[in-house]
C-alpha cells in the first residue's frame, strides 16, 4: 500500500476462500460493504482498512487474525462506532447502522460491547467497582430497581466469573490483579447481555496459564447470552481453538476467510501459510530456515 495511493474502489481481493459454511442459514447480525478507514491526508495518508466486506452471523464465534499494523483494531473500533468510517456501510441486523446522535449511539452500545487488551487501562480509576457494575444495570434500564435487587444482580454477575462481590464492594479496580480485572470486564458483559461482543486481544496481557480461564468464561458467557463473539487477535492458535469462522487480515484487507478448520489446516494464501509457519508448534517440526 503506497502512501500516495488515491482512495479508489478496490478490486475484490484475489481468491478469497469460500464463504463460511458454518451458520450460513443463520441470520446475519453484523455486516459491512466496502468498509474503509483512511488516516491522515496528503503525503501522510495511510489506508488502515481497505474496502473490506464481511457477514457475521448470529451466535457465531469469529476471529480476525493479523500481524501488528494489519488494521484489525481499527476495524474493531469502526464496528464499535468509536471512530468514523471513511467509506462504506455497516449494517446491524439488516438495517444500516445509525449512530449520528449520542442517544442513538447509546442505544447501539446496548447491543455491541467490547473487552480490550489492557485491563489496567480499561477502567476509570476514580470509580469504584460498584459504580462500574451499577452503570451496566442502569444501561439495561434497571435504575429504578430496589437496592437489594441490584446487589443480587451484581453478586450473580461476579460469581459467574468466580469473583466474590462481597470482597469487591467499595474497592477500586486497581486493587485487583490483571486476571481479576479482565474477569470483572466479563462480569460487566454478563450484566449487559449484548448481542455482539468484540474481544480485542483479551488474553495477550495475561499469563499463558490464566488464558484458559478467561477463554472458558467467554465461551460460557456466549452460551448463556447467545451472543456473537468477535475475537481480534494475532495468536493464530487461539483463533483456531475458539472460532467457527476465521478471517485473515493483511495490510487492511481480508486475504483469506472460511471455517477455522479449512483456513488453519489447509491454508491457501501465502500470507496465511507464513503466519502459521512462524508459530512454534509441538507436534510438527518448527522450520527456522524460512526467515
Amino acid at each position: 500500500m503506497s502512501m500516495n495511493e488515491p482512495l479508489r474502489p478496490s478490486a475484490p481481493p484475489p481468491q478469497v476462500g469460500p464463504p463460511p459454511q458454518v451458520g450460513r442459514e443463520k441470520q446475519t447480525c453484523l455486516s459491512g460493504t466496502g468498509v474503509t478507514k483512511l488516516f491522515g491526508f496528503g503525503r501522510t495518508k495511510t489506508l488502515a482498512v481497505d474496502h473490506v466486506d464481511f457477514n457475521f452471523h448470529e451466535g457465531e464465534v469469529i476471529s480476525i487474525v493479523g500481524e501488528s499494523g494489519s488494521g484489525k483494531t481499527t476495524l474493531a473500533k469502526m464496528l464499535l462506532g468509536l471512530i468514523s468510517v471513511t467509506e462504506g456501510d455497516i449494517y446491524f441486523q439488516g438495517q444500516k447502522r445509525d449512530i449520528s446522535s449520542s442517544r442513538k449511539k447509546q442505544e447501539y452500545w446496548k447491543n455491541i460491547q467490547a473487552i480490550f487488551q489492557d485491563p489496567f487501562s480499561s477502567y476509570n480509576i476514580f470509580s469504584k467497582i460498584d459504580d462500574v457494575l451499577l452503570d451496566c444495570i442502569r444501561m439495561r434500564g434497571g435504575q429504578r430497581l430496589p437496592k437489594e435487587e441490584k446487589v443480587k444482580l451484581m453478586t450473580e454477575a461476579c460469581s459467574f466469573v468466580n469473583l466474590k462481590f462481597a470482597e469487591l464492594t467499595n474497592k477500586y479496580p486497581f486493587e485487583l490483579s490483571g486476571g481479576q480485572m479482565q474477569r470483572l470486564m466479563i462480569a460487566r458483559i454478563f450484566l449487559l447481555k449484548p448481542k455482539i461482543l468484540i474481544a480485542d486481544e483479551p488474553t495477550s496481557m495475561i499469563d499463558a496459564c490464566s488464558r484458559a480461564t478467561i477463554l472458558d468464561y467467554l465461551m460460557k458467557l456466549r452460551d448463556e447470552v447467545g451472543m456473537t463473539l468477535i475475537f481480534i487477535t494475532h495468536d493464530i492458535g487461539l483463533a483456531y481453538y475458539v472460532s467457527d469462522t476465521v478471517f485473515i487480515m493483511e495490510k487492511g484487507k481480508f486475504v483469506e476467510s472460511g471455517s477455522a478448520d479449512a483456513v488453519i489446516l489447509t491454508p491457501q494464501q501465502p500470507y496465511t501459510k507464513r503466519l502459521l509457519n512462524d508459530v512454534p508448534k509441538i507436534y510438527e517440526e518448527w522450520d527456522l530456515s524460512t526467515v
Binding site: 499469563d207 508448534k281 526467515v291
Partner: protein, 340 residues
C-alpha cells in the same frame, strides 16, 4: 556427558521488603547446564523465574540479597565475590544476561557502537576504539546483522532488530553462559522467529557455550530447549527433558501448565484447555508442606504438613511430590478416561 558449564548448588536468595519482611523468591535451587545445551525455565508469573535469572549472575543489589548456595561457572566458583569484581570480571565474559524488555533499555541518545564500547571498556579500559569497531563489525557479520546498524540510534531500528542488537551486544565478549529472560515476548511471530534463530545460531558459531531460556510460552520453550525446569513458588517442582516435560509431565503443576498449551495444529480443538484454579502463594509466609497443595487436585492430608523433597525419577528427571510416579500416572490416566 558434556562438560558442565554452569553448576548451581542449593542457591537461595531473598528480597527484603520495606517492612523488613523476608521473601525467599529462590529457594534451594540446584541445576546444571552442560556445554552445548539449553535449559528452559517454565512457570506462571510470580514463580521466581526472573529472580532466579538475576540470582544466577552472582550480582546482587538491594532489595535482592544472597543467603546461601554456590554458583560454579566452568569450574570456577563466583559465590562470595564482591559485586564490583563480579561486574568487571564475570558479567559479559563468563555469564551474560538479557533482561525482559531489554530493547527498551537502550539509551536513545547513543549509537549502537557506543553500547559495545561500554561493554568492552568496562573489562579492559586500554582497548582502542578502532579495534573495538573492527571486532563489533566482524561479530555483527557473523551474527547476520547488517554492520550499518552499529552507527544507528536505537529509535532508527525496528523492535525485532533492536532485540537482536541487544543480544549481539551482550554476547560480544563470548560468555560461557547466556541467560535470556523472555527475549521474544514483546515481538510478533515473525520477529520472534528471527530472534530465536539468532539465539540458536549463537551456539553454533561459538559465541556462547550454553544457554538458559526463560518464558511462559510453552510451545516456544519446547522448540528451543533441551531440558525444562518447572518452577513454582521459588522452588523447582520438576526437571525433565523437553519432550518428557511437555508430553509426559509428572508433577500436578506441570501437568496443569501443559494443559494450557495452544498451538494451531489439528487435534487442538478436540482437547479442552484446562486452567489451574487459584494463584501462587504469598512467599512472605509460604505454606508449610507442599506449596502447591492449595491448588492441587490430588491433594492429601499429609501434603499440608510434610516437607516434600525433590525425588529422583531416572536420569535427568526429578519431581517434587509425595505421590509416587505410578500413582500420579494412574491419576492422569483416570482423568483422561473420564474426559474421553
Amino acid at each position: 556427558m558434556g562438560k558442565v558449564m554452569l553448576e548451581v548448588n542449593d542457591l537461595t536468595t531473598k528480597y527484603i521488603t520495606r517492612y523488613n519482611e523476608d521473601v525467599y523468591a529462590v529457594d534451594h535451587v540446584s541445576l546444571q547446564v552442560e556445554e552445548g545445551k539449553t535449559l528452559g525455565i517454565a512457570g506462571e508469573s510470580g514463580c521466581g523465574k526472573s529472580t532466579l535469572a538475576l540470582s544466577l549472575m552472582g550480582y546482587y543489589f538491594p532489595p535482592l540479597y544472597y543467603t546461601g548456595g554456590e554458583i560454579i561457572i566452568d569450574g570456577r566458583s563466583i559465590s562470595g565475590m564482591k559485586p564490583d569484581d563480579v561486574r568487571r570480571t564475570i558479567l559479559g565474559t563468563e555469564i551474560a544476561y538479557i533482561p525482559q524488555a531489554a530493547m527498551n533499555a537502550l539509551n536513545p541518545t547513543r549509537r549502537v557502537i557506543n553500547f559495545i564500547e561500554d561493554v568492552i571498556l568496562a573489562h579492559d579500559p586500554t582497548e582502542n576504539k578502532k579495534f573495538i569497531y573492527e571486532l563489533a563489525r566482524a561479530s555483527f557479520e557473523t551474527l547476520g546483522l547488517p554492520p550499518e546498524v552499529l552507527q544507528k540510534y536505537p529509535v532508527e531500528l525496528s523492535g525485532g532488530m533492536k532485540q537482536r542488537t541487544v543480544i549481539a551486544v551482550s554476547v560480544i565478549l563470548r560468555p560461557k553462559v547466556l541467560i535470556a529472560d523472555e527475549p521474544s515476548s514483546a515481538l510478533d511471530v515473525t520477529s520472534q522467529k528471527m530472534v530465536i534463530k539468532m539465539l540458536k545460531n549463537l551456539m553454533e558459531t561459538g559465541f556462547i557455550k550454553s544457554m538458559i531460556f526463560i518464558t511462559h510460552e510453552l510451545p516456544l520453550l519446547y522448540n528451543v530447549t533441551d531440558d525444562i525446569m518447572v518452577m513454582y513458588a521459588g522452588q523447582i517442582v520438576e526437571r525433565a527433558s523437553a519432550r518428557e516435560a511437555v508430553f509426559d509431565p509428572l508433577h500436578p503443576y506441570s501437568k496443569g501448565l501443559m494443559g494450557s498449551i495452544i498451538v494451531p495444529e489439528s487435534g487442538l480443538r478436540d482437547v479442552k484447555l484446562t486452567a489451574i484454579p487459584g494463584a501462587p502463594p504469598n512467599l512472605k509466609n509460604p505454606p508449610a508442606g507442599c506449596r502447591f497443595a492449595e491448588r492441587c487436585k490430588y491433594v492429601r492430608a499429609e501434603c499440608r504438613y510434610t516437607n516434600v523433597a525433590l525425588y529422583d525419577a531416572g536420569p535427568g528427571r526429578a519431581y517434587r511430590c509425595i505421590l509416587s510416579e505410578k500413582v500420579l500416572r494412574d491419576c492422569y490416566e483416570h482423568e483422561r478416561a473420564i474426559a474421553a
